[in-house]
Subunit: 316 residues, 2 copies
């Protein structure tokens, strides 16, 4: 069978119209939100979506609302034609690619934009854009800690754009990668708290053959940094194995990871062991936890994580 070419939609109303027509036909609509420059990890999300839905929409939109002006919005990689080809290579393909131009430009009412900049110390590229957008969704506890520390407006930007995408695409199921673990938990909580009728599926991390977690940012690593960055996955595996062997003291496991990454030339942003649900730090592992890491290699910030689910009988 020839690969299916997706319908490309850039208009919000058209997107919603398609979705509502599908719903009235009894179809289950799946959404995979992405920022483009797709890799095997994204395609895994699409394959996962096929397990839960009859028709699949993939959104490709680099969201300025989650970037600080000092972050890498302008250099974020893109390759729209390549993305379409990759999506067509997935068995079953995708039905729609939603590719809007600017989801914050309402074409009027820009008078309030300056107020937002004055009143907020930490601004996003949207606040700076002067579009007058002023509504933000925050998941107030889960957005704290981990990536929330070094990227203070990131999760408000993510929760807000996902709300917008949900309201435009109106899916029944949405698939998020567990590589962005905190993001996945935030979206789950947001969906519950705001009564979206959407099932949130978390998809396991896709890794390169050598263990590096796939990321659109990996292409910006130098050869040397790319090699050194393998220390992240290696250290996570080492810590997981140490935990399985009875080391349940978080501080000890953290130090193991920090040492391994630092020795390889990485600069740690954070290494934390947190509860899988509420993402609060744990001193000792006595339930399902996740070991989360963010580290810089050169000018590239990478994140990764590993769930640790100890069986009761191996715990000390």
């Amino acid at each position: 069978m020839a690969p299916k070419e997706p319908l490309v939609i850039s208009n919000k109303d058209e997107m919603r119209k398609w979705s509502r027509a599908m719903r009235c036909q009894g179809k289950v609509i799946g959404l995979v939100p992405t920022m483009g420059y797709l890799h095997e990890g994204h395609l895994t999300l699409v394959r996962e979506a096929h397990k839960h839905a009859n028709v699949i929409a993939v959104s490709i939109y680099v969201n300025p609302g989650q970037f600080s002006p000092n972050e890498d919005l302008s250099t974020y990689p893109s390759d729209f034609d390549g993305d379409i080809r990759k999506l067509m290579s997935v068995p079953g393909g995708v039905d729609v690619v939603f590719h809007p131009h600017n989801l914050y430009d309402y074409g009027n009412d820009k008078r309030n934009s300056n107020v937002a900049i004055e009143s907020d110390k930490t601004v996003s590229c949207v606040d700076q854009g002067g579009f007058g957008h002023e509504t933000w969704v925050r998941v107030e506890n889960l957005q704290k800690g981990l990536c929330g520390n070094s990227r203070p407006i990131f999760f408000r930007g993510v929760a807000t754009i996902v709300t917008k995408l949900f309201n435009i695409v109106e899916p029944d199921v949405a698939v998020f990668g567990k590589k962005d673990y905190q993001q996945w938990r935030i979206i789950q909580r947001m969906v519950r708290d705001l009564d979206f009728s959407i099932k949130i599926v978390g998809s396991e991390i896709t890794r390169e053959d050598d263990g590096l977690a796939m990321s659109s940012r990996n292409v910006r690593l130098s050869m040397k940094d790319r090699q050194n960055a393998l220390s992240i996955n290696k250290s996570l595996l080492k810590a997981k194995s140490a935990a399985a062997d009875g080391q349940v003291h978080s501080e000890k496991l953290r130090n193991l990871v920090i040492q391994c990454i630092t020795e390889a030339g990485g600069q740690i942003d954070y290494v934390e062991i947190v509860d899988q649900e509420n993402l609060e730090k744990v001193e000792f592992i006595n339930g399902p936890v996740v070991l989360c890491v963010a580290a810089w290699f050169g000018k590239v910030r990478l994140i990764d994580n590993m769930e640790i689910n100890l069986k009761m009988d191996v715990r000390k």
Copy 2:
């Protein structure tokens, strides 16, 4: 024709199922969100909804998310049977009354609730309730000033519950009273910023024969306070007339209102003249403005407002 008895739905999934069935039948769905204890003002909203929609849902839910613990949540009046009777008296009636029990109780995951209370100085009755709800929608500029000053968590509570109701009822049109002017503007902006596909209709203030703006709280006024509270509407009319006669200096008009209400025994919360769209204070009237008032009579806080749309040729 016998008055139509509305279907009463308390379950979220059932509510959404009804709405989606209507949509697939091509019906336009109208929503009138209320906190119950309905009066003629609410019925005006329902009549307005009939102009825009084929089927009408009225929600009756006293939202703890917009009340501070020191406010009047526990004494907020209710009369469900009376409400149903009143809704049946409107020509065309209403199709559904959505009357949920507790929209913040998710039946699990209460572990985070304490964190919310510790980290926020101003809490709502939802934070105190310990349900673990932690997602809030804020319209960051419009929520400032006017009622936002004396009720710091009010509009985050309103924006959040309206988002929840929109996600549950999934209407095409929703009608809000312009008596709650700031709320109306906030919901309009939120709908734009979050890409809800919902038309927001503002319905004019309904007044008693003697001019008092209708409110569920009016029943709690003593006979004397009820009489004194007429000063609000009187002062607004006086200011509007002064503006029409050429007095465009906001301070002068404010003072006129303040004096009139204070002399009648009211205690001013605020009197402001603001731009109708962005609700920013204006020093001189040179465009569409609204004069907004909040004042206490006895233990009851009343709000009212009047739009002032001067024709260019009467301006000095």
